[in-house]
C-alpha cells in the first residue's frame, strides 16, 4: 500500500555532472529577472508607493467604464479600476495625491461621493501616506537583507564558510527570481508579497540545509571519494525527501491559491513559484556552487563515532 516503495531511496542521477547547465540556467534566470526589474519594473502596491485603494461591491454587475469616467473626472490623477474576483467587485486604485495627508482623505471622500449609490458595500479602504510608504519600503528592504544575512550567518555557524557562501548566493538567486516573477506577471508587489519572498527564502534554505547536512555527513564518511561523486550522492540520497516535501507544500498552496480568496491570491501564487525555485536552487545551485569553493576534505571531526570506515552504500 505504501506507494513510496515505488520510489528509489537514492536514485543515481548525475546532477553535479551537469552543473554547468544548472549554473547557466540560474544565471540566465537572475539576469532575466534583473532586466525585467530594470525594464518593466514592479507593480508596487500602495504599501510602498503610497496612495489609496478601495474595494467595493456594486449593486449588480459593475459598469467599469461608467465608473472609470466618473472617477476620472474628479481630477485625482491616475485612477485605475479592475474587476476583483467577481463581476460585482471592483478594486479602485487612486494615485498618491499631491500635498499633505489631508489631501488624501479628501480624495477618499471625493471617490465615495462620486460612486454614490452604485456601491452596495465598501469592503476595504486602505490609504498609505507618502511618509509611511517610504518607511515601509525601507523596513522591507532591511528585512530582506537581514534575513538573507542572518540565515547565512547561521549556516556559517553550523557548517563551514564555503557552505554559507553557497547558501547566500542561492538565497540571492531565489529572491531575484521572486522579484523577476513579480516584474514579469505584474502582480501587485505589497507587504504581503514581500512576506512571500522572505518565506521562500526561509523555505529554500530549509531545503538547502537538509542537503548540506547530508553533504557534511558523506564528507566524513567517504574520505577518499571524489568530490563530484560525493556531492552527487548527497543530492541523490536526499532527493526523494526534497521532492516529497515540496510536493506536500505545493498541494497546500494549491488549495490556498484556488480557495483562499482574492485578497491573498497574488501572495499564494507567488509562493508556488517560490517553492519551485527554492527547491530547484538547493540542489541545482547551492550544491553545485560548493564545487567552486575548494571544500576542505579533512573536515574537523566533532563526533569521532561518525568517522568509522564507510558503510556499504545502497
Amino acid at each position: 500500500m505504501a506507494l513510496i516503495r515505488k520510489l528509489p531511496i537514492a536514485p543515481n542521477l548525475n546532477f553535479i555532472g551537469h552543473r554547468k547547465i544548472f549554473l547557466a540556467v540560474s544565471g540566465a534566470l537572475v539576469l532575466a529577472s534583473l532586466i525585467l526589474l530594470a525594464g518593466v519594473g514592479l507593480n508596487l502596491g500602495i504599501d510602498f508607493r503610497g496612495g489609496i485603494l478601495i474595494e467595493v461591491r456594486t449593486n449588480g454587475p459593475a459598469d467599469l467604464s461608467a465608473m472609470r469616467s466618473r472617477l476620472g473626472s474628479l481630477g485625482l490623477g491616475e485612477v485605475t479600476l479592475q474587476e476583483f474576483g467577481a463581476e460585482d467587485e471592483v478594486l479602485i486604485n487612486v494615485q498618491r495625491q499631491e500635498g499633505e495627508e489631508e489631501a488624501q482623505s479628501a480624495a477618499i471622500a471625493a471617490v465615495k461621493e462620486a460612486l454614490g449609490t452604485d456601491v452596495a458595500e465598501y469592503r476595504r479602504t486602505e490609504f498609505v501616506g507618502p511618509k509611511v510608504g517610504g518607511e515601509l519600503k525601507e523596513a522591507g528592504a532591511w528585512a530582506t537583507v537581514l534575513a538573507i544575512l542572518g540565515i547565512s550567518l547561521y549556516v556559517w555557524f553550523r557548517f563551514e564558510w564555503q557552505f554559507a557562501v553557497a547558501a547566500l548566493l542561492a538565497l540571492v538567486h531565489d529572491v531575484a527570481a521572486m522579484i523577476g516573477f513579480f516584474a514579469f506577471t505584474q502582480l501587485e508587489f505589497n507587504l504581503a508579497t514581500l512576506a512571500a519572498v522572505l518565506t521562500v527564502a526561509g523555505y529554500s534554505i530549509n531545503d538547502t540545509v537538509v542537503i548540506f547536512d547530508r553533504v557534511r555527513e558523506v564528507l566524513r564518511k567517504y574520505k577518499k571519494m571524489p568530490l563530484l561523486e560525493l556531492l552527487n550522492m548527497a543530492v541523490n540520497q536526499t532527493l526523494t525527501r526534497t521532492l516529497l516535501t515540496s510536493f506536500t507544500t505545493l498541494l497546500a498552496l494549491l488549495a490556498l491559491t484556488l480557495f483562499g480568496g482574492e485578497v491573498i491570491r497574488g501572495f499564494s501564487a507567488s509562493l508556488i513559484w517560490g517553492i519551485l525555485i527554492g527547491t530547484y536552487s538547493s540542489f541545482g545551485l547551492a550544491v553545485p556552487l560548493l564545487t567552486f569553493m575548494g571544500l576542505r576534505r579533512t573536515v574537523d571531526d566533532e563526533e569521532p563515532g561518525k568517522t568509522r570506515s564507510p558503510e556499504k552504500a545502497s
Binding site: L3, E126, L136, A143, G150, L191, A195, T199, G202
Partner: protein, 521 residues
C-alpha cells in the same frame, strides 16, 4: 530513540491535553465561551482587523505646530516684558524653531537678558556681540513638551472615541510622535476620522468693527477669518476678528446637542472662571458682535443683546443634526493640543472579513485533506501516524494562538496552510532515513532508532533557519504580516514537537505491540 521514558510519554500526553483544552473554546460560540466559569480557558483566537472587520488608523501629532504656537506666545511675552522694562528693541519674530529680537542699545543687553530669563525658563538663550537674542527649546524641554502633548492627545482621542460608543478600541502611542488607533468592528470610520481630524479649539472673541472684511487691510492685533456660514452668493462669509481671546473653550464644563426654534444648536455651560470672564466681556460690549471661532473658522457672529451672566449659552449656526451632535461631543471631550494627521488607514468591512474567514477555512480543510491523503498513500501505516501528528499539530497551533492571544490575520491563515504542507517535512525526513537504514540491512528497531537519531540534527538545523526568517518578518512587518510570522513560527515549533515526539511515540508503541520482523516502508 526507541526508548521512551515514562516522563516523556507523560509530557506528550500532557501537551496534547493542554492543546485540546485551550483549542476547545474555539468550537463554541463567542457568547458561550465568554460565559464559561473562570477556571476554564475560554480565550478564542483573536481575529485581526482584516478578518473581523474594522479600522486601523495611524496618526501623527503635529508637534511643530505646538512649538510654533508656544514660540509665538513667547514673542508676545518678550514684547511686553521689554516694553515694561523700557528696553528698545527691533526686528522681533520667529526664525525657524527660535524666537529672535535685536536690542538697540548694547548697554541694555544684560538688563534684557535678566528680564527675558524670568519669562523663558524652559528656553536656551543665546546673545551675540551685536545684541541679537535667540531663544529656542532645550533638547530636554522639547522632549518633555512632546511627551506632554502626546499624552494629552492620547487622552483626548480616547475620550472622543469613547463618546461615540465604539467597543474595545485600542489607542496607543507609537514611536516618537504617533498615535495608533485600532477600532474593531467599526462600520463607519469616516465619522471617527472627521472627529479626530478636528483640533476643536473653541474661542470667543470680539469682531473688529474698525475694518471691513474685504481682505484689503487688517489692523495689527486682528485677523481675517472665514466663516462656515455662506453669504447670499454662496461664498463663505469673512470676518475681521480680534486676536485677543475673551474666553476659551477649555473653560467649558458641558456641551449638549439640542434644538432652539426647530434649529439644531449646541448648548454649553462654563465653569465659574469662564462664566465670570464671559459675563464681564458681554457686559462691556452690549450691542457689538462677537465671534465664536472653532479651529480658526467663525461658526457664528451674533450681536450681544445683553450681558450673559448665567454662565451658559448656545451656539447656533447653519448646522445639521449630525454636525451639532459632533460639535457637542468635541466640546465635551476637549481640544487636542496639536492637530492630528492620518498617515495610514486600513479599513476592512465586515463582509470582506467574513468572506476571508470562509475562504481561509475552505483552503485549510482542503489543504489538510490533500496532504493527509498523499501521506497515507505514500507511507501507508507510517503515513497515517504522521497524519495523526499533523492533526495534533493543528490543534496545538490553534491552542497556542488562543492561549497566547496572538492575532490571527488573513496572511496568518495562509501561514497555517503553508505550515500544513511543511509540517510533514520532519516526518518525511525521518521516514526516508528509516528507509535508508532498512535498505542498509538493519532490522526495524535499529532502523527506526538510527533513522530518528540521524534525522534529528537536520530537522533542528533546517527549522531554525526558517525560524530566523519568521523572526525577521515579525520584527520588520506590520499588522497582518506580523500575524503571518507568528503563525509560521508557532507552526514550525509545534510541527517539530509533533514530528519528533508524537509520531515517535506512535511508532514506538506500534513497534512494541506488534514486534514486526519487517518494516513495510
Amino acid at each position: 530513540m526507541v526508548q521512551f521514558p515514562k516522563w516523556q510519554v507523560a509530557l506528550v500526553l500532557f501537551v496534547l491535553l493542554l492543546g485540546a483544552v485551550f483549542a476547545a473554546p474555539n468550537l463554541l460560540s463567542r457568547e458561550t465561551a465568554e460565559n464559561l466559569p473562570g477556571w476554564v480557558p475560554r480565550e478564542q483566537v483573536n481575529l485581526g482587523l482584516d478578518l473581523q472587520g474594522g479600522s486601523y488608523l495611524l496618526m501623527e501629532v503635529d508637534i511643530d505646530t505646538v512649538v510654533r504656537e508656544r514660540l509665538e506666545g513667547l514673542v508676545d511675552g518678550i514684547r511686553s516684558a521689554l516694553r515694561r522694562a523700557k528696553i528698545v528693541y527691533s526686528d522681533i519674530g520667529l526664525d525657524g524653531q527660535a524666537a529672535t529680537f535685536q536690542v538697540r542699545d548694547l548697554q541694555t543687553v544684560d538688563q534684557a537678558r535678566e528680564v527675558i530669563r524670568d519669562i523663558a525658563r524652559e528656553f536656551v538663550m543665546q546673545v551675540d556681540d551685536g545684541g541679537r537674542f535667540r531663544l529656542q527649546y532645550s533638547e530636554q524641554s522639547l522632549k518633555d513638551l512632546t511627551t506632554n502633548v502626546i499624552a494629552q492627545s492620547l487622552e483626548i482621542v480616547r475620550r472622543r472615541i469613547d463618546e461615540t460608543g465604539t467597543r474595545e478600541p485600542t489607542i496607543q502611542r507609537q514611536g516618537d510622535d504617533r498615535i495608533l488607533v485600532q477600532l474593531p468592528g467599526l462600520r463607519d470610520p469616516e465619522r471617527i476620522k472627521s472627529l479626530l481630524g478636528k483640533t476643536a479649539k473653541l474661542t470667543f472673541r470680539m469682531v473688529d468693527e474698525s475694518s471691513v472684511a474685504d481682505g484689503a487691510r487688517v489692523p495689527a492685533g486682528s485677523e481675517l477669518l472665514s466663516s462656515t456660514e455662506l453669504d447670499t452668493a454662496g461664498n463663505p462669509r469673512r470676518y475681521v476678528v480680534k486676536k485677543r481671546i475673551m474666553v476659551s473653550g477649555d473653560t467649558l464644563t458641558d456641551a449638549a446637542a439640542t434644538f432652539q426654534d426647530g434649529q439644531p444648536v449646541v448648548s454649553f455651560s462654563f465653569d465659574s472662571i469662564g462664566a465670570k470672564k464671559f459675563g464681564d466681556a458681554t457686559r462691556a460690549n452690549v450691542g457689538r458682535p462677537f465671534a465664536i471661532v472653532l479651529d480658526n473658522k467663525v461658526i457664528s457672529a451674533p450681536v450681544i443683546r445683553e450681558a450673559i451672566l448665567g454662565g451658559s449659552g448656545i451656539i447656533s449656526g447653519q448646522f445639521s443634526v449630525q454636525e451639532v451632535q459632533d460639535l457637542a461631543l468635541l466640546l465635551r471631550a476637549g481640544a487636542l493640543p496639536a492637530p492630528l494627521s492620518i498617515l495610514e488607514e486600513r479599513t476592512v468591512g465586515p463582509g470582506l472579513g467574513a468572506d476571508s474567514i470562509a475562504a481561509g477555512k475552505i483552503a485549510s480543510i482542503l489543504g489538510f485533506v490533500l496532504v493527509i491523503v498523499f501521506m497515507a498513500g505514500a507511507y501507508g501505516l507510517l503515513g497515517l501516524m504522521a497524519n495523526v501528528a499533523l492533526a495534533a499539530n493543528l490543534i496545538i497551533l490553534l491552542a497556542a494562538l488562543s492561549g497566547l492571544q496572538a492575532t490571527l490575520t488573513l496572511p496568518g491563515i495562509a501561514g497555517i496552510v503553508l505550515t500544513l504542507g511543511m509540517a510533514v517535512d520532519a516526518n518525511v525526513l525521518i521516514f526516508e532515513r528509516i528507509r535508508e537504514e532498512i535498505a542498509n540491512g538493519r532490522g526495524p528497531v535499529t532502523a527506526i532508532d538510527t533513522g530518528y537519531r540521524r534525522a534529528m540534527a537536520t530537522i533542528i538545523d533546517s527549522n531554525l533557519t526558517t525560524l530566523i526568517a519568521a523572526l525577521l518578518l515579525f520584527m520588520f512587518g506590520t499588522g497582518p504580516i506580523k500575524g503571518f510570522a507568528v503563525t509560521l513560527a508557532i507552526g514550525l515549533v509545534t510541527s517539530m514537537f509533533t514530528a519528533i515526539m508524537l509520531t515517535r511515540l506512535l511508532v514506538v508503541t506500534w513497534l512494541r505491540r506488534r514486534r514486526p520482523q519487517q518494516l513495510a516502508i
